[in-house]
Symmetry: C2
Subunit: 259 residues, 2 copies
DNA sequence: AAGTGGTCTAGACCACGTA
DNA sequence: ACGTGGTCTAGACCACTTT
């Protein structure tokens, strides 16, 4: 194999050739060798670089396409994707509330995919407690970013969000004035921190609102509250976000697609 | 190409060879040529039957594996899957309630995957209203099966379910005494009606319990209630189930994985 | 030992996008 | 015209499962 600048991965033994190549490409992508949106080298170039047949390269690329890390475009090339930056497919945070009359299920596409306006209430570095640090695979006493956000729909405060991010990785967010933050977190994580959200686990539960929360949502104290607990993971399975989202239970709608 | 007993599909023009083969295999599977659980012919056999190279057959099979219709097992063969018969991956109806102490999110695997006991309250043929008939792609006035089910966990009634099924397809269920029904609907649909649930859309909302519902769940009237609306689809995208699940909002937990 | 899928090769031609 | 990915071929050898 000709020398190549790609970072070598740990696991190489007992792995198929295309698996090794997929891993090396993934490492290169994560290392920023090919930033999101850019194209990786052509199949033929990779084949000669790795010293394998074209088919083997295709198989390696297929793995990363399957993972959602790459995207193939005929006639143009193979591109690094931006992850779930635009919003999560499958379960939509866009359809959190019934803005419109009762939808009929199938009408997912017809509903306005309204993105709630985001108001950053606070964003500060905090010491993570033990369980939160463990979630991010950080040691005890590690620090993180604690973000408090309120989301508005048509001049009504609808959602209250508490977000925790691991701090070594997300430090770049601190340098951005909260006024300049976009409406969505994931594109910011992707652009400023090089973090790509690849998978998430949501859990929906129900409980009364606490006093402070109720006030910020203009609801009476102990009003029924829907709580969505989300953990987001990057391509390597590392937890990169812990989020609590709260809102009026009776104006709440959570959609999920299972396949 | 040698003559083959496989049902010919409509779309053949402008489709890749492996796409055509995938379609023909799918038609054969849906037509019951290879029932769920059985193996389809070996790659080499298919290659000679269709008159293509092995790689083309592999590509066709890969499409159906991706769709979740087939499963490859090295050294044994390629098998027709039973769909989502055992319960849905991704979003789990098994973890609907907090049977145990607060889980820590990641601990999905450690939680007991307890299947609630199912009690069929009623199962009868009804005339579907316009929107329900449209869901099943049936004409106005079409009939369906309306099932009322209560689910128990450890001697407590926890869930109330109203299920609608399209009737021409699910008629076989009527012949089975409700006492002999299993705890899960999808395996029954698969075994008795040849219907495979492949994808589902859940929607979670909250509202007060209605009087009759509250009584059946041993809860006070107007108690907060979690409502999951599910539409299940077969491999062809046809809606094959509409289900409403209701339960105590305070004992509710809905988990979904997004990728 | 025989049969299955898993991996890999070294080519070929086609369809698409861009210059 | 050229480079890209999309499709396809006709083999090869390996790993796994069953007989």
């Amino acid at each position: 194999m000709p020398d190549n600048p790609i970072v070598q991965s740990a696991a190489a033994a007992g792995m198929s050739r295309y698996g090794q190549i997929a891993r090396q490409l993934q490492d290169g992508i994560l290392a920023g060798e090919w930033p999101p949106g850019s194209a990786i080298p052509a199949e033929s170039a990779l084949a000669s670089r790795f010293g394998t047949a074209l088919g083997t390269i295709r198989q390696a690329i297929a793995v990363l396409v399957q993972q959602g890390l790459l995207e193939r475009v005929q006639g143009k090339g193979t591109f690094v994707r931006n992850g779930l930056s635009g919003g999560l497919p499958g379960a939509s945070m866009m359809r959190f509330f019934r803005f419109r009359a009762e939808s009929d299920g199938e009408a997912t596409a017809t509903a306005t995919p309204m993105v709630p306006r985001s108001e950053i209430l606070s964003c500060r570095s905090v010491r993570l407690d033990k369980t939160m640090a463990a979630r991010f695979a950080l040691g005890t006493g590690a620090r993180g970013l604690a973000i408090s956000r309120r989301r508005w729909v048509a001049d009504h405060p609808r959602l209250l969000e508490s977000i925790w991010l691991p701090l070594p990785g997300c430090a770049a967010l601190q340098d951005i004035p909260t006024a300049e933050w976009g409406e969505l977190l994931y594109p910011m994580l992707s652009q400023h921190c090089g973090i790509t959200v690849h998978r998430a686990m949501d859990e929906v539960t129900f409980r009364p609102l606490e006093a402070g929360e109720a006030e910020q949502l203009a609801l009476p104290a102990s009003h029924p509250c829907a709580l969505v607990t989300r953990q987001a993971f990057d391509i390597q399975g590392q937890c990169v976000e812990y989020r609590l989202t709260r809102g009026d239970a009776y104006a709440f709608r959570y959609a999920a697609e299972i396949r």
